[in-house]
Amino acid sequence: MTNNIQTIILLTIFVPIVGSFTIPLAGLISKKARSFWSVLLALATTACSMLLIPFALKGGELAFRKEMAMGLDFIVVADALSIFMAVVSSFVGALIVIYSLGYIGHEENQNEYYLIVLLFIGSMMGLVFSANLIFMYLFWEIAAIACWRLIGFYRVREFVLKADKAFLMTFFGAVFMLLGFIIIYGQTGTFDLTAMRGTAIPGVAVLLILLGMFSKSATVPLHTWLPDAGVAPTTVTALLHAAVLVKIGVYAYARLFCYTFKLPEGWQQAIPIIVVFSSLIAAAAAAVENDLKRILAYSTVSQIGYIFLGFAVLNPMGVSGSLLFILMHGLAKAGLFLCAGIVIHATHQRDIRQMGGMIKTMPWTAVAYVFCAFSVIGIPPFGGFFSKFMVIMATVQSGRVWVAAAALFAAVMTMYYLFRVFSAVFMGEARSDAKEGTRSMVFVVVVLAVLSLLAGLFVAYPTQLANVASGEILRWMK
């Protein structure tokens, strides 16, 4: 049994990573072969990770290691948290790969594109299963490389600049995080997370590590790369960032600060405030921006604040809520980005002031947009409601009423700006005779919209897994 699980975990990590480098080889055969192979790899990853769900539901935890030099053992830990993250991100990742078939079909550098996306998924898998700080960092940076190549995918000067900015800012955060890890190492003499449970760590290390997390997860004040990156690349790339990449930092937060280390009291108080502040500022920026993709990117920043908040309040409901949030936000934000993609594709512009009345010509997109918007805002019965609700409940439960109030205000702002976009883009006077997107594009957004709805209606199933994960936190907090 254990061996089986081990094999599956290793497959989950290495199928995409090793597979990604075979994609150019497949590309030598034909375009079709490459696309097929990429999708196959992504699906295999998802399947592998999903095979772990029963194990996770049983509350199982498995850690195994490969000895290496100087405490840099490759340690893998599989528990409900990591399996939840793995399933969600590989699932969304696989969806993105499938959708890329249509979106990227006409561009150059497709080999590189699929290679990088698969590598990205692989690094994500590696990250969630790593229980060694250094290996976490390693996969973290592989993801950053992937992100860099993807943002600059079109090779246009301005986009490449944004890619560099994103890479630099996240790298800046990440190396300081590494420094934080090293400070912890200096204190404990190990990088092994499983051995450090319940360790109290110095505030400086927390600050440094937070720099990394905030930069990766685009939280104020290290968030500005995300809106920029959101503008530049293909829609799919933007989506990949919003739906998956930014979750890395959040996951690391959960893994480190909810499941492993004891935060100093001051930080425990400060972090919820910081993230809510971030949420508010991003919401404000989204309310002011006129560029469709920038708005959505800022919206991501704002929602990330919630996810952090749920983890930061350190109670089971918050953790459950945040994990659900990761899932729901992944689906709904993906839908929003893809709707935006269809709109931009049709109108060839991103300024919402130049759009209008598109509900007439693209009703499906409009409806899908509204569905996803509902989910992001947190309106039942869409999935986003439950996650947001649980995060708020948990925040109040931890005694932070004002923080919860601010978070709810951010939710009101979310309503405002998402409907501002909706009004500007789909309602009002038609400014162009933009046509509905291609069948596959529309199909995709509708599927995501429906998934957002279904995730809400059948919320009990993901919650079960999330609750197992959040149940573990109690064990470590004691």
């Binding site: 800012m169 004040p221 404000a284 089971p316 708020i392 439960q397 709810l408 919320v459 609750n467």
Partner: protein, 621 residues
Amino acid sequence: MNPQNLLIPVLLPLLLALFSFLLPRGVKRLREVVSVLGAALFVYVAIAFFGQKETFLTLPWLGHGIDFELRLYGFSQFILIALSGFTFLITLYSTVKMAGDPRIREYYGYLFLTSAMSAGAVLANNLVPLVFFWEGLLITLYALITIGGKGSHRTAVKAFLIGGFCDFSMILGIAILWSQTGTLRMSDISVVPQGLTAVSFYLMMIGAIGKAGSMPFHTWIPDAAVDAPVTVMAFIPAALEKLLGIYMLARICLDLFKLETNSAPSLVLMTVGALTIVLAVFMALIQKDLKKLLSYHAVSQVGYMMLGIGTAVPIGIAGGIFHMINHAMYKSGLFLAAGSVEQQAGTTELKKLGGLAKAMPLTALGFVVCAAAISGIWPLNGFVSKEMVFHGSYETGYTIFTIAAWLGAILTFASFLKAGHSVFFGPRGLETAAVKESKSPITIPILILAGLCVLFGVYNALPLKLFIQPILAGHAAPGESIDFTAHALAVFNPIALISLGCLLIAFALHFFGFKRGGNKAYLASEPIHRLPVLRTLYDWAEARVFDLYEQGIKFIQAMSKFLFRFVDRPIDAFYEKVVVGVGRACIGALKAAHNGLYANYLAWTVGGLVIIVWAIGALLR
């Protein structure tokens, strides 16, 4: 009763909704037939539920004490009947009124979804399912308003945002309540609002009265009256939201929190109620569009209910709840009547209408009865419930609230005199010459509602004993009488006499205005409109100065701009400008330093040697 059956009131409309959504647009009859029959079945279910024992249903859901819990008991049975009844009537009415609408498929779908959600909210016994259904109503509300067509979207967003704000307040309130009591099961919660729980009370109150459309969360209603289909107006703001909102308010004040008479929360609630009565009715008075006028009344009447429940006196509470059901009936009736007029005459502007009583006798009859009921004319139901509210507020000792209520009564009557007079009496307008009576599916609901108004007035014992007493049963102080039927229609007591006097004043006002306006009924309110101070206030109100939504949006915009300009952009500028600038400066300095001169380089070398030797020397010491 099998607890699983509790799901029927939720699932039945849900199935109907799905049916409507999935039925292709081309099929016409079938949809209407199934809808009406389904709604009838819904009514049947609700009636079948009535009188059943208290039943609980608990299904595991999200963990953390969040379970899917439903509870059927007296109060929810009562609301369920009302809910299903209105659903049926509106469905029936819609078969004609909405026929041919391009979005008919969605219309029925949303209609039944609304019913399903409302049923869920009414039955919920856990705060989370409650919020789930409660907030879910936002979607259908939004969708239904947008069916109104051009320009309705703005109003829909407005309704959505206001509703969302209120619901988020409620969520916060629930969260606080949960953190204080440790449970989410509504039947287990009963706290005195103090400190944090008081905050929770206010927040949940905002959620409840926001749904009910009280001031200051009412402003979407008059807008929607213009934009949304009249059936939607009759169904949601007039009936459903009052049912739900006041139901919730009653639950909050009676069950979740122990509201003490004259305690701060009680006074706050009464104050808001009184203000809502007076301010909204002032606005209603001067409206020149029938639907808008009705919509302001829909707001104003909420004030009575809040005032009643806020008294925390049994008779007040009973009055508030009774007023809720009464209001749902006559206001729906009024809206439907207005819809009937709109259907036939093509407009609801008072100026263009007139003398329709002859052409549309049934509609006129329904309208007049409902208008009389809302104005509190003896012996209609409105009189009974208003009297109870007056009594209740008087019992608290704060007569000021009673006076406000009376003031509201005066103006209500005055405005309805104006409305009825303009639409159905007086000279016939030229544009409306060819108007005929509406079809029976339209008139029947109106007449049923009018009939119910009379019934509940004359046989007030029926609702009071059957529905309302059970609700109060567990809450009134022991020995206190909760049988109000005795003096329900009593006229000869001071309060009732004053009320009747108010009606006379209203009549006088209307007559005065009518004469001043050159015998034009729609100008009857102008004397009040033109009063010195009021006029300015009215102008401001027209300019939406008092519209909290507009101000809120302005605030959000301003704040967003501020945060964006002064926080977000500076942060970005830090990276884009400061970091790059520092980099540039360093680069510049270094470039200047590496000037290619050999002597310069050698000087660095020698200088470096000197510094190193000095440093080593210093460090050795």
